[in-house]
Symmetry: C2
């Protein structure tokens, strides 16, 4: 059952959530939409109005993209090429031009031609390199709508989608629109810190929410009782001098920096609290597709993406965590997705799902700032997905998710290797640190067991010391407390390091890094003095 909400209801409800900038942003349209009665437009006008260069001016006639079928595919090639393999210089095993031509011959190239009337799903150069609607190309928007409709169908009807230039851009758009002087925004106490800046630069104030940093799937993430208490007793609590929160910002799945995922029960409870206190939910979900099944200590290299356990259907219906959209009956959820973690960050491509009233405001902001995301980026992404879809009867959503599952498989492997290597260190075995097993994403938290140490007079100073030992041992990580909204508030929960297994080139790298981490922690326990 989808709840129906009309435009007027949305406007009445959500106008009060807008930054005062929104009404000051005059969007001056200098061309005519309105025609008085009696004016009969010519059926075939010549247009001297639009300041767009004809596509004949573009220096590009076509673009041909050599795509892979799975991540790290090049490692399996029977040749070495300095242009495909890092560090292979001098070992030319193949002629790259011949390789390119073979890709053209076998039809595996993804082509972007100046015009391409033969495939309306493709975005041709004439469009890709031209100015375009700030919303993004219809091909991309249609795809995103299908994807959201398939996996995370909102519980109400009046929602819409726009493209943006990566989730950083999405976040700045959203908080430029929602935050304002003296507006408060709830967020996880450890979080993606640029969002704090987006809020404070508008004069807003971030309010941390206590996290349960644990790998218990039903407990991990935002402490719901704390959140309910905080809001129910706002007028008498620590923040009574501030206005009640306008929005909750949350990284829902594979949270940054903790790697934790909110259970569905927790999402329902948090949604209900937001309904009660009329708070918008900004659901940032860059990592959600990289969902893991639990690490199996009896079989540490078990990878359920590769052994057939996780079928396409299972992935979609059981593995992925459903969005807040799926329980959103009043249009208060703004969902942010991005192609950065499952395709490529340099594409600067993301999308925003929101109720139509809010989305319209975000679009008008885009009109006078960056406009649409880079066109060639949209074209490459969509034309590649369209090419993949040829193998699945044109089902782009399926083709895309099958790629995403291959990415998730590789991340699962990396999670396995790093977890196994960390648990093999003497420091771990001696209880000097424990792991918060990530349920999704790129991050794994290592909690230093200060209890084992004895009395620590300053946890942050001690964590700095851990970090310096690791720097000396040659293992670079992030200190959890550096991603805190309020260090004082989070002091008791600041004893963790954020590790990521995303960037390293090989398993050996993860294993060696884990060994070094173990040594560094051992040295801390041996050498640290309060």
């Amino acid at each position: 059952m989808t709840v129906k909400i009309d435009d007027k209801t949305l406007e009445e409800h959500y106008s009060k959530f807008l930054n005062r900038q929104v009404s000051r942003r005059v969007n001056l349209q200098f061309w005519d939409d309105f025609l008085p009665e009696g004016v009969k437009p010519h059926p075939n006008p010549y247009v001297l109005a639009v300041g767009m260069p004809n596509e004949g001016f573009f220096p590009v006639e076509s673009v041909h993209i050599n795509v892979v079928e799975k991540p790290f595919q090049h490692l399996d090639y029977p040749f070495k090429s300095e242009k495909i393999h890092a560090g292979a210089a001098g070992e030319h095993g193949m002629d790259e031009a011949e390789y390119v031509k073979s890709k053209v011959d076998d039809g595996s190239m993804v082509d972007i031609w100046k015009y391409d009337p033969s495939n309306k799903d493709n975005i041709p150069i004439a469009n890709a390199l031209q100015y375009f609607d700030s919303r993004g190309f219809p091909q991309l928007i249609d795809f995103a709508k299908q994807l959201v409709g398939f996996l995370n169908k909102p519980a109400y009807d009046n929602w819409d989608i726009m493209a943006a230039s990566g989730s950083s851009d999405s976040l700045s758009k959203v908080f430029t629109t929602l935050a304002d002087e003296d507006v408060t925004v709830l967020m996880e106490e450890f979080t993606f810190t640029p969002t704090i800046s987006n809020i404070t630069s508008c004069g807003g104030i971030p309010i941390p929410l206590k996290l349960n940093i644990t790998d218990d799937p039903s407990e991990q993430g935002i402490n719901v009782e704390y959140m309910a208490q905080l809001l129910d007793n706002w007028a008498t609590g620590d923040y009574s001098h501030l206005s009640k929160p306008r929005a909750l910002y949350t990284v829902v799945t594979g949270q940054n920096p903790t790697g934790m995922t909110q259970s569905m029960e927790k999402r329902r409870a948090i949604y209900d609290i937001c309904e009660k206190h009329d708070i918008m939910i900004v659901e940032d979900d860059p990592y959600g597709y990289l969902k893991f099944l639990p690490f199996d200590r009896s079989n540490p290299s078990k990878n359920q993406y590769n052994d057939g356990t996780i079928t396409f259907e299972k992935y979609c219906k059981e593995i992925l965590a459903p969005s807040y959209l799926t329980i959103d009956i009043s249009g208060r959820v703004i969902r942010l997705e991005t192609f950065s973690k499952v395709f490529a960050p340099g594409m600067r491509l993301s999308f925003i799902v929101a109720n139509k009233f809010i989305l319209e405001k975000l679009l008008r902001l885009a009109d006078v700032t960056i406009r649409a995301p880079c066109g060639i980026s949209q074209a490459m992404t969509m034309n590649i997905i369209d090419k993949w879809a040829e193998s699945y009867d044109g089902d782009k959503v399926k083709a895309w998710l099958l790629w995403v599952m291959k990415v998730a498989a590789e991340y699962t492997h990396r999670r396995n290797v790093l977890t196994q290597a960390l648990e093999a260190t003497p420091a771990f075995k001696n209880g000097m640190f424990e792991l918060v097993e990530p349920s999704a994403g790129m991050f794994l938290s290592v909690k230093i067991n200060f209890d084992k140490f004895g009395d620590i007079s300053d946890k942050l100073k001690a964590m700095d010391s851990v970090n310096y030992k690791l720097i000396e041992e040659g293992c670079i990580v992030i200190l959890g407390y550096r991603m805190a909204v309020d260090r004082k508030f989070s002091y008791d929960r600041s004893n963790f390091l954020r590790l990521t297994f995303a960037m390293v080139p090989t398993d050996e790298h993860l294993q060696e890094a884990a060994a070094r981490l173990g040594k560094g922690v051992e040295r801390f326990f041996k050498e640290y003095q309060n």
Copy 2:
């Protein structure tokens, strides 16, 4: 002689120009730069800190770009292809795959490989699709610095450059940084209207400057006397209730919508006024490279770019209008350039030149909004320029400007065709309208001669009527007054239409459009009633 300005002087002078947001924008860095004494970093650390996917996750192995040597090159091909020629469907004269392979064979493809150690000037996929410094790739920044240094070397030393995602993005960055509640900004009375929105949404107030709309090269553009008077007598003038202007926004060359260019004498005078009143100059120059020599009525198809009159040296030294940067002795000029009009808008690629203090603020804004422009866009643009440079001993600036001159040549041709066709209409011959010959860019102004009409009680209503006649005749243009900052202020100068010759596909289109425009204007003169 380059004036030396140190960092401290810039900071002291320009701090007062910043929006209050700038200081509220906490840029929380969550990794360490500082190391206490005694900590000895490992020489070969393993990095588990950075949340970037390894390049092996990117689905793209290589990209191959089929570039042209001049605009509209495809019209000269001895074949027709539906993928290269609009509307050629069904007339397959060639096999596109063979065509691609021939381009690979003759070495004319621009390649972007995953890694490419053989050419450090290229941006490989491993970087292009990755997160990157908000400033932009060094290859792009170095090129932009060379270009600015060669054509428009600033008169002071302490300047810097960053990339942005098109001039819309640049403008929003600049005015988010400079504008603020009750800050006033001077601008040409007819202008690129989204800039108005950028200013008003920050609470700022745009103040129009009177324009001389004429094709006299020394007179056209901002009315300097008006500007001097306005500022000298601010406290007693129409705007005495407002603060004195913080910045001047100006489209310096081939102005939008008028097509006019400020003479060097005028720029010196305006710069001096800004020095006197301590006003920053935001120089928006998207059209400057499309510079025209005067239209030759005795030889209307004369194109000095094609007949050898405009050599590369002449273009650089005599034709192009030097930037305000070249006379900027105090670092008050922010120059905006873009690849949109001379390469392709869909690339969303531009750059900003400013003093180091201001540029640093713009960079920190980029860090928490869109970050760097799309990487694949930067890679395509720079690798294409690098390829072209092979023919000029690696001189990228020359290779680039030679391409730009070919674009300017085509715009000159279009200017010629449209001017000739407009002057051939009976309406023009009867003095019903006159042309403001464009000195650069994409726009040409048509002034309706209301004097010839007799008494007009409401000029804007009359211009609307002209527009409706044109819509009926099938010639779509922009009404000048719709691009006014203040319609009342500009009432006397509102009798013009903006025409652009950028988008149309053919000469015939321009000729027919001009004929229709003539008919529409004739009908206005015959049919309009006050």
